[in-house]
C-alpha cells in the first residue's frame, strides 16, 4: 500500500496537518476538534503498526531530501526508531483521550491541541531522524512547540516555569547544534549507523571526539534531565496534567534520552565510545542523577513535584543502561525507555485524576483516597510498585537487566545504585500508597459532595454513582496501568517492549 518514503512522511503529516487544522477551529467546535484529534492519533498508531510490520518483514524505509548542498534531511525506520516511535504513538493516543477529558470546558483548547499535535509530530521526527542534522531540527521544533503547552494556563507561575524551560532547552539545543556542526566539520555529515562513523578518527583525534561527545551529551542531557541540568523539569510540573504526561513520559525527556542512545550507538558506536573512555563518566553522571532525583523526590509533599523528581531518577536508568557496555545493560536501558513511559504516564494520569476529581494536589491530602477512588489508586499503586522494581510490573524487568548488565560488565556498583534507588523509591512511593489505602479519609476533601464513595452509598441526587471519576480521564489511566502490568507479566513475548529491545540489541551486539 505504501512505499517507503510516503509512509514515513504520512507518519509525520498525520499530526503535523492535524495540528495546523486545529489552530483554525473555533473554540466551540469541540466535537470536530475531538474527532480530528482522535482520528490523527489513531491513524498514527495504525501507520506506525504498518511500519513495524513492514520492517519485521524485511522492508526498509528511508527518505532523503537535500536541504542545502551537503546537508541532507534523512528519515529512516531502524529498530530504535520503531521502539521510540511506537511508544510515542500509543501513548499519544491515550494522552489525547485524557487531554480531551481534562480540558473539557476550559479556554484556549484549539491552541492547546494544535501545539499538542505539533509536539507529537516533532517527537516522531526525532524518532525517525536518520542523521544528527535531522535530529537537531526536530529536537528544536519540540522545544518551540512545547513551550506554549507549559505556559498554557498563563498564570505567573506557569510563565516563570515556561521561561526556565525555554532557557534550559534553548541552551541545550545550542549545545546540540554546536556538537552537530563540530562533528560534521571533523567527520562529515553522515547517517546514523550501528557502530557509529567516527572509528577512524578515534585514533587520530581522540581529544576532539571526547569534546564533541561531551558537548552533545550535555546538550541532550538537558532534556534527559541529567543532574545538574535538570532544573527545568520540576518547575514545568505547573503545566496541565496531560502536558506533564507528555513531558515526562512521551516526548520531551524521552527525546533527550533517545538522543543519548543515538549518539552512543549510532554516532560514536559502543566500541569507539569505550575506547575514548567517555562512557564511564556518563554512567557516573547517570548514577548520581538516579540517587539525587530519588532523594529530592522523597522530600516533596506536592504530588506532581514528587513525580517530577522521580522522573529525573528513572530517566537516568536509561542513560545508565546505555553507558554500561554489554547487551544486557543496553537491553535494560532501551526497555526502560518504554517502561518508564507507560509507568510514569500512569502516575501523572492518576495525579491529574486526584486533582480534577477531589482537588487533591498534595500527598498529605491523599489519606484514605483509596476508598473513594479505588480504580485510580489501584492504577497508581501498580505504577508505583513498578517504579520500585517490584515484579511483575514492568520496572522490575528494567532493573533486572540493568543490574545483570552492570555486574556482567564488571561494574558491581551498579547493583548498589539500583538497590539504593529501590529503597528510596520505596521511601517516597510506599507512604503514598499506604496513606491512600489504609488511612482515614482526609478532611481536605471528605466533606465535599464529590467525596461520596462508589461503594454502597449513593451520590448527589440519590443516583447511584457509576464511576469514581470522569471516564475520559479514568480510561487512559486504566489502559496504561494494564500496559505496565502486561509489559512485565508478558515480558517474554516477542512484540512486547522487552522483545523489541532484545531485537534492537541483537543488531548492536551481533551474536
Amino acid at each position: 500500500m505504501f512505499h517507503g518514503p510516503s509512509l514515513l512522511l504520512s507518519i509525520l503529516a498525520t499530526s503535523m496537518v492535524t495540528g495546523v487544522i486545529l489552530f483554525f477551529l473555533k473554540e466551540e467546535q469541540a466535537r470536530l476538534r475531538t474527532a480530528l484529534n482522535l482520528f490523527g492519533a489513531a491513524t498514527k498508531v495504525v501507520l506506525v503498526a504498518l511500519l513495524v510490520w513492514g520492517t519485521a518483514h524485511g522492508e526498509s524505509y528511508q527518505l532523503r531530501m537535500q536541504f542545502m548542498p551537503g546537508l541532507e534531511i534523512v528519515l529512516h525506520a531502524d529498530f530504535l526508531a520503531l521502539l521510540f516511535g511506537s511508544l510515542s504513538a500509543v501513548l499519544w493516543l491515550v494522552t489525547t483521550i485524557y487531554a480531551v477529558g481534562y480540558l473539557e470546558g476550559s479556554p484556549h483548547r484549539s491552541r492547546f491541541f494544535g501545539f499538542f499535535s505539533l509536539c507529537v509530530a516533532a517527537t516522531m521526527g526525532i524518532a525517525l531522524a536518520g542523521n544528527l542534522l535531522t535530529f537537531f531540527v526536530f529536537y528544536e521544533m519540540l522545544t518551540v512547540v512545547t513551550y506554549p503547552l507549559v505556559v498554557h494556563r498563563g498564570t505567573g507561575r506557569a510563565l516563570a516555569a515556561g521561561r526556565t524551560y525555554l532557557l534550559y532547552t534553548i541552551f541545550g539545543g545550542t549545545l546540540v547544534l554546536v556538537g552537530t556542526v563540530w562533528l560534521s566539520l571533523v567527520a562529515g555529515s553522515q547517517d546514523f549507523a550501528t557502530g557509529g562513523f567516527v572509528s577512524e578518527l578515534a585514533a587520530t583525534r581522540p581529544g576532539t571526539l571526547r569534546a564533541i561527545f561531551a558537548v552533545l551529551i550535555a546538550g541532550l542531557g538537558v532534556k534527559a534531565a541529567l543532574v545538574p541540568l535538570h532544573g527545568w523539569l520540576p518547575e514545568a510540573m505547573v503545566a496541565p496534567a496531560p502536558v506533564s504526561a507528555l513531558l515526562h513520559a512521551v516526548a520531551v525527556v524521552k527525546a533527550g534520552a533517545f538522543g543519548i542512545i543515538r549518539v552512543v550507538y549510532d554516532v560514536f558506536g559502543v566500541t569507539t565510545a569505550e575506547a575514548l573512555g567517555v562512557l564511564l563518566p556518563l554512567a557516573i553522571v547517570a548514577a548520581v542523577s538516579i540517587v539525587y532525583g530519588s532523594l529530592r523526590a522523597a522530600m516533596q509533599d506536592d504530588l506532581k513535584k514528587r513525580l517530577a523528581y522521580s522522573t529525573i531518577s528513572q530517566l537516568s536508568y536509561i542513560t545508565l543502561g546505555v553507558a554500561i557496555i554489554g547487551p544486557l545493560s543496553t537491553t535494560g536501558g532501551m526497555v526502560h525507555l518504554m517502561h518508564q513511559g507507560i509507568m510514569k504516564i500512569t502516575l501523572f494520569f492518576c495525579a491529574g485524576l486526584y486533582a480534577e476529581t477531589l482537588g487533591i494536589h498534595r500527598v498529605s491530602e491523599m489519606t484514605g483516597v483509596g476508598r473513594r477512588m479505588p480504580l485510580t489508586t489501584a492504577a497508581f499503586t501498580i505504577a508505583a510498585f513498578g517504579m520500585m522494581g517490584v515484579p511483575p510490573v514492568a520496572g522490575f524487568v528494567s532493573k533486572w537487566y540493568l543490574g545483570l548488565g552492570g555486574v556482567a560488565a564488571g561494574h558491581d556498583w551498579v547493583v548498589a545504585v539500583l538497590v539504593t534507588s529501590s529503597l528510596l523509591n520505596a521511601l517516597y512511593f510506599l507512604p503514598v500508597v499506604k496513606v491512600a489505602w489504609f488511612d482515614a479519609p482526609s478532611d481536605a476533601w471528605a466533606g465535599s459532595d464529590a467525596a461520596a464513595s462508589p461503594y454502597g452509598t449513593t451520590g448527589a441526587g440519590g443516583r447511584r454513582r457509576r464511576l469514581e471519576a470522569a471516564p475520559l480521564l479514568l480510561g487512559p489511566a486504566m489502559v496504561t496501568a494494564w500496559l505496565s502490568l502486561a509489559a512485565g507479566v508478558l515480558a517474554g513475548v516477542w512484540f512486547g517492549p522487552l522483545g523489541l529491545a532484545r531485537m534492537a540489541v541483537a543488531l548492536i551486539y551481533p551474536p
Partner: protein
C-alpha cells in the same frame, strides 16, 4: 499438568478481584477465602512430582514445577490457607473491613502459593513480593495504634528484605545460563561472589523467617493481625523465608563451613532466645510468635548442618520437610485456638478449646506419639551428620531447648486459661471450632501418614524402647515442673511489670535510637548540607505537614535557575563554539 500447576496461584488472584467488586456479598467473600486454595491442596495431595517446564512468554524465563519439596510445601501451605480461610469466613462476619481483608487475604495467598510452585528466580521473587506486600494489609487490618506500629516496622523490614533479595538474585543470576533455579543454585555454588550472595540471601529471607537478629518485626506483626491471618503468617508465610533458603543456597552442592557455623549458632540462639523472651509475654498470641522464632531456630540448625556437610542434605531435607509441616499445622492450630477460646461461652466449649490447645501445645513440645515427636526425632537424626564438634554439642543443647519449648507452651496455655471471658450470649464458637477441629485432627494424625504419602525417609523415633521414650519425655516433664514451680511462686509473690520484655525486644532500642536521632535532628538546626537527612528522618516519622521539612537543596536549585547562571551558560556555549571552529 504444568498448566494446572501454573494456574494455582491465579485462582486466588481472580478470587481477589472478585472479592474487590463493590457488589460482592460477604458470603461470597467467605466462600472465596475458604475455597481459593482447595485446587492447590488437591494438586499437592494427588499429583505426582512434575518436572519444571518453561513458560517463555511469562515474566523472565518463567519455570514452574513441583518437586517433592514443592509438593510437601504446597500441601501444608494450601491446607493452612484453606482452613484459615474457612475460619476467616466466620471470623470476619460482623467485623468491619471484611472486603479489604478478603482481598488482601487472597492476594497474600496467591503470592504464597506462587512461590512454592516457582522454579526460577523471577517468579519466586514475584510470589515472595506479592505475599510480603499484600501481607501488610493483613497486619494493619485492625487499625489500632499497635497494628500501625507493627505495620510500619513490617514494611520497613519487608522493603529491606526485598532489596537485599533483588541484589542477591542479580549477583547470583549473572553467572547462570538461565534463570531456572537449578542453574542459579549451581551458579551460586561456583560464583566468585558466593560470600556476598549468601549473605544477602540469608539476610533477605531471614527477615521473613524471623531469624535472629532480624526477627524484631515478627512478635509485633504476627499477633496484631486478625486471628486467621496470624495463623497463616506464623504457620505458612514464615516458612516461605525458609523455602527461599532451601531453593537458593547451594545445599548439597558445596560445603560452606563458615556460613554453616553461623546459621547453626544463630539457630540455637534463636531457639533459646525465643523461649526466654516469650515466657515473659502477657499476650498469648505474642507468646506464640516468640515460639515461632524459637521453632524456626530448630529448623535453621538442620539447614546449617546441611550447608556445612553437603552429604547430609537428603536426610536433612526430609527432616526439615517433616518439621515444617508439623510446625505449620500445629502453630496454625494454636493461633486459631486462641480465637476459638475467646468465643467459648459455656464450660463445655471452654474445655474443648483448652483441650484442643493443650494437644497442639504438646505437639509443639514434642510429646511422644504427637506429630512433634516425629518431626523432632527426624531432626535429631540429622545432628550426628553435623561437621566438627557439633554433634556432641547438639546432643546436649537440643533436649534443653525442647524443655524450653515446653515451658513456653505452658506459659501460653496459662495465659489463655486465665483470660477473663464473658459467659453466655450468642457467639460464633461453632463456626470457628469446626475448621479448627480439622486442623487439630491433622495435628494428631498427620505425621503418621505424611512420610508414606510423600515417600519421605525419616529417622523414626522409637516409641517402644523405655530409654528412648525417657529421652523424649524428660524435657516435657522438666518443663512442666519448672512451669508449675514458677506459677507457684508467682501466686505468692506476683512478678511486677518489670519481669516482662516488651514485644519486639531489640526493636525497642532500635526505635529509641531512631527517635532520638530524629529528635536531635529536629532540635538543632544543622548545617544546610545535612538537611536531606533531616527530611528523610521526618519522613520515617510519617508526618506530611511539610511545614518543618527543610529543603535546602531547593535553594541551590533556585540559584541554578536564575538568569545570571543562564548568562554564564551562554558564555560557555559561545566559547565552545569558537573552540569547535578553531579545532575543526
Amino acid at each position: 499438568m504444568i498448566r494446572v500447576i501454573a494456574t494455582l496461584p491465579l485462582i486466588p488472584l481472580a478470587a481477589a478481584l472478585l472479592a474487590a467488586l463493590p457488589a460482592s456479598p460477604g458470603r461470597l467473600r467467605g466462600l472465596l477465602m475458604a475455597a481459593a486454595a482447595l485446587p492447590a491442596l488437591a494438586v499437592a495431595l494427588f499429583a505426582s512430582a512434575v518436572e519444571p517446564a518453561q513458560l517463555e512468554w511469562a515474566l523472565l524465563d518463567t519455570h514452574v514445577g513441583l518437586d517433592t519439596i514443592g509438593r510437601v510445601w504446597l500441601f501444608f501451605t494450601s491446607f493452612l490457607w484453606c482452613v484459615a480461610g474457612l475460619y476467616a469466613a466466620r471470623y470476619m462476619e460482623g467485623r468491619p473491613g471484611g472486603r479489604r481483608f478478603a482481598v488482601f487475604y487472597l492476594m497474600t495467598m496467591a503470592g504464597n502459593l506462587g512461590l512454592v510452585i516457582a522454579q526460577d528466580v523471577a517468579s519466586f521473587y514475584l510470589g515472595f513480593a506479592l505475599m510480603t506486600f499484600a501481607g501488610y494489609g493483613l497486619v494493619v487490618h485492625d487499625a489500632t495504634p499497635e497494628a500501625r506500629r507493627a505495620g510500619r516496622v513490617y514494611l520497613v523490614m519487608a522493603v529491606l528484605g526485598e532489596t537485599m533479595l533483588l541484589a542477591g538474585f542479580i549477583l547470583a543470576a549473572v553467572g547462570a545460563p538461565s534463570l531456572a533455579m537449578h542453574d542459579v543454585v549451581a551458579a551460586v555454588a561456583t560464583s566468585p561472589r558466593a560470600g556476598v550472595i549468601v549473605a544477602l540471601l540469608l539476610a533477605g529471607f531471614g527477615i521473613k523467617a524471623g531469624a535472629l537478629p532480624l526477627h524484631m518485626w515478627l512478635p509485633l506483626a504476627h499477633p496484631v493481625a486478625p486471628t486467621p491471618a496470624s495463623a497463616v503468617l506464623s504457620g505458612a508465610m514464615i516458612k516461605a523465608g525458609l523455602l527461599g533458603w532451601i531453593r537458593f543456597l547451594p545445599l548439597g552442592l558445596v560445603a560452606m563451613e563458615g556460613w554453616s557455623i553461623a546459621i547453626i549458632a544463630l539457630g540455637i540462639a534463636a531457639a533459646f532466645f525465643g523461649v526466654m523472651v516469650g515466657v515473659t509475654q502477657r499476650d498469648p498470641k505474642t507468646t506464640l510468635a516468640y515460639s515461632s522464632i524459637s521453632q524456626m531456630g530448630f529448623l535453621n540448625v538442620g539447614l546449617g548442618i546441611a550447608l556445612g556437610a553437603p552429604e547430609a542434605w537428603p536426610v536433612a531435607a526430609a527432616a526439615i520437610l517433616a518439621y515444617v509441616v508439623h510446625h505449620g499445622i500445629a502453630k496454625g492450630a494454636l493461633f486459631l485456638g486462641v480465637g476459638v477460646a475467646a468465643e467459648a461461652r459455656t464450660v463445655g466449649e471452654r474445655r474443648f478449646a483448652l483441650g484442643g490447645l493443650a494437644l497442639a501445645a504438646l505437639s509443639i513440645a514434642g510429646a511422644p506419639l504427637t506429630s512433634g515427636s516425629i518431626a523432632k526425632g527426624a531432626l535429631k537424626g540429622v545432628a550426628p551428620l553435623a561437621p566438627g564438634g557439633w554433634p556432641a554439642f547438639l546432643d546436649v543443647l537440643l533436649p534443653v531447648a525442647a524443655l524450653g519449648s515446653t515451658l513456653l507452651m505452658a506459659r501460653f496455655l496459662f495465659l489463655v486459661a486465665v483470660k477473663d471471658r464473658a459467659m453466655g450470649g450468642r457467639s460464633r464458637f461453632m463456626g470457628l471450632a469446626l475448621p479448627w477441629t480439622v486442623l487439630l485432627a491433622a495435628v494428631a494424625g498427620m505425621m503418621w501418614l505424611l512420610p508414606h504419602w510423600y515417600d519421605l525417609e525419616l529417622h523414626a523415633p522409637d516409641f517402644t524402647s523405655p530409654g528412648r521414650l525417657w529421652i523424649m519425655i524428660w524435657p516435657i516433664a522438666g518443663g512442666t515442673l519448672v512451669a508449675l514451680l514458677v506459677a507457684g511462686i508467682a501466686r505468692r509473690r506476683p512478678f511486677g511489670r518489670g519481669a516482662t520484655v516488651a514485644p519486639g525486644d531489640i526493636l525497642i532500642p532500635v526505635e529509641r535510637a531512631a527517635a532520638w536521632a530524629v529528635g536531635r535532628l529536629r532540635a538543632y538546626p544543622l548545617p544546610e548540607s545535612l538537611t536531606p537527612v533531616q527530611g528523610l528522618a521526618s519522613l520515617w516519622y510519617g508526618t506530611y505537614a511539610g511545614a518543618d521539612r527543610r529543603d535546602s537543596l531547593a535553594g541551590a536549585e533556585a540559584f541554578v535557575t536564575r538568569w545570571a547562571v543562564a548568562a554564564t551558560m551562554a558564555l560557555v556555549v559561545i566559547v565552545l563554539t569558537m573552540l569547535a571552529l578553531i579545532a575543526g
